[in-house]
Each structure stands twice: as structure tokens, then as C-alpha cells.
């Protein structure tokens, strides 16, 4: 995950209002767009590709942990 996106992710996990904005988006493409927009507005520089890559990585890690159980 890009450092900028990782820092934004940490911010989101601390900021309930920001969580509310992001968690209600069900559509994947719209969610990626909203994440980029929310991050950029707050001074974080990352792209839709960065978000998509981090999303895939998070899914992969989850499946790996499920398989380990």
C-alpha cells in the first residue's frame, strides 16, 4: 500500500465522521472514487490504482488467513 494511502487509512480509522462518509458506499467503483476524492481533499496524494491495489491486497490477506484457520 502506498505510504500516502496508508496514512489516509490510519486517519479514517480514527475519524468516525469520515468513516460514515465512506462506509455507506456499496458500489466498488464509486467507493474507489470516493476514497481518492476524500483523501485528496485532505492533502493525501494517491490514485484510484493505489486504492484498487490496496483493496486486492487486503482481500488476498483475508483469504489467506481464512485458509490458515
Amino acid at each position: 500500500m502506498s505510504e500516502q494511502l496508508e496514512n489516509f487509512r490510519k486517519l479514517v480509522l480514527e475519524d468516525v465522521a469520515l468513516q460514515e462518509i465512506l462506509r455507506n458506499e456499496r458500489d466498488y467503483n464509486a467507493f474507489v472514487e470516493l476514497t481518492v476524492q476524500s483523501g485528496n481533499q485532505r492533502g493525501y496524494s494517491f490514485t484510484a490504482e493505489d486504492v484498487a491495489a490496496a483493496y486486492r491486497e487486503s482481500r488476498r490477506k483475508w483469504f489467506e488467513r481464512r485458509l490458515d484457520q
Partner: protein, 303 residues
Amino acid sequence: MIDWCYAYDRRFTLPFFKDTVESLLQRPFNVLFRHQTSIEQLTEFCETYPGLRPTGFIFHMSRCGSTLISQMLATSSQNVVISEPEIVDAVFSSNASSRKFSNEQRVELLRCLIGALGQKRFSEEHRYFVKFDNWAVLDLPLIKQAFPDVPRIFLYRDPVPVMVSNLNEIAGKFLPSAVDPAILGLDYQSVFQMRFEEYLAICLNRFCQAGLDHLDDKTVLVNYRQLPDFVLTDLPAVFRSEFSAEEIEAMKKVSTLHAKRPSAPYTDDTKAKQSQASEFVRQMTEKWVMPVYQQLEAKRLAS
């Protein structure tokens, strides 16, 4: 490591806890923005958020109607029902990772994990039931230490259909070497030398024996044959609860459906499963499971 995902307004109504979690992970937010904490950090969490006190625990030998019971209980919005949460396996002996904790730590972590899962998220929720997976009965002494006052049921069934059901669809933990054979009183060499039917029968023997060995005044034995009526008539008293007529009616309705595939009606498959049993399955069942099943029946009928 513990992953936390946002549960929105979802109650845990699907047959298994993991089903609800997987459905929540369909939401993009939960994929990218999950909190993660170590299992040790839970102790801090549970001091602040102890969760609902468990109302009742459900143990079983596998494939004997426990999901039907949890699905019936889950119909009421006053109940939090957590069905076979895999996260608690971290402290159970069927999971190798439990060995890194002392007995005292395992008791404490179990209390915290059960507390974390039993958070009150809706105002009407006031009862909390946990259905454990079939291996958990081997850790009953630990569970009783952590929750000495919580009423329990141990559910069992004529072992031939249980054997056939498990052979038709093998759960991961039943695969030989998935758990340390020492907890079954076996070693790897003997497990790999025996046929799977015998290994399965020994597992079922151990579950039933544990249910029998740890019987006390907090535990009630329930035979599959008593379902679903037992849930409607006796279970509320066993779990020191009162259910309204509306709750009973809703439970009755769901008992007509297949517990693990609620879109299909329930049909009693006991006869079909009996006819599927091979001679060897019958022999292994007779040798390993039937004697302890009969002891359970004798205890139940005498109580």
C-alpha cells in the same frame, strides 16, 4: 490478530457467524478500512465494553440439530445469537495456537472474546446465546471456569446418521492432522493408519464422552429427536428466560425450514442416512459411539 469490521444494521441471523462476516465483507469499506488488534489487546477492550452476559451455551456432537436451535433463537430481535465463531478457537485445544497461552490467560481471553462478540448493538437485545462448534466440548472445563454460571445444553443424535452426514460432507477440522491427535488420546501414526470412518467415530466418541463427563447441574442433555419441540417448550426455562408468544410463534415457523439452507423446507433425513451407512460405518459406530450414546440417553431419561 483480530480483524474488526463494521456491522451496519445487520443482526447475526445467518446459520453461521462466518456467513454474516463474509456478507459484511462484500461492503468495500470493510475490505479497506478494517481495524486490526492483537488478541492480547482484547483485555483492555473488554474492561470498557464487557458485552451482554451469556444467557446460554449450546454444545453438540455435530450434525445433530444445533444449527436449527441457533436459527430458531436468532428469529427474535431480543436475542444475540453467535453461531460457531471461529475466533474463539484461538483459546481451544483443537487449535495449536492456544498452546502459547497459560490456562489462566485462556480463561481470560475466552471471557473477553465472548464479551466482544456479545456486544449489545440494538436496544431490544438482552439475551445472548453462543453455539460452539463440536470440538469445543473438549474444552468444557475451560469454558466452565470462564463462565461457571451460564446454563448449557449438550445436543446429540443417533450416531449412524451423524456418521453418514459427516462422511457426505467432511468439515475441515475432521481431516486427520487438522487437529493435534493428542487431544483425542491418539498419535499421528495411529491416525494415519486407521480408516477415516474409524477416526471420525473416535472423534464422535470423544465429543459425547466429554459431554457426559462434564455433566453437572448447569447442563441439560438434549436428543435430536426432541427437536424442535424442546426449544419451544423447555429451552427457555433451561436458559432461565421467558419468551413471548410472538417469539415462540416465529421460532416455530423457522423450525419448518432447513437450518443450513433456510430457503428450503426441513425434511427428516434420518431414514435416508440410515440406509446410506455401509457395514463398516455401522461397525465403527457400534464400536466407538453407540456405547456412549446409550449412556447419554440413560442419563437424559433418568433426569
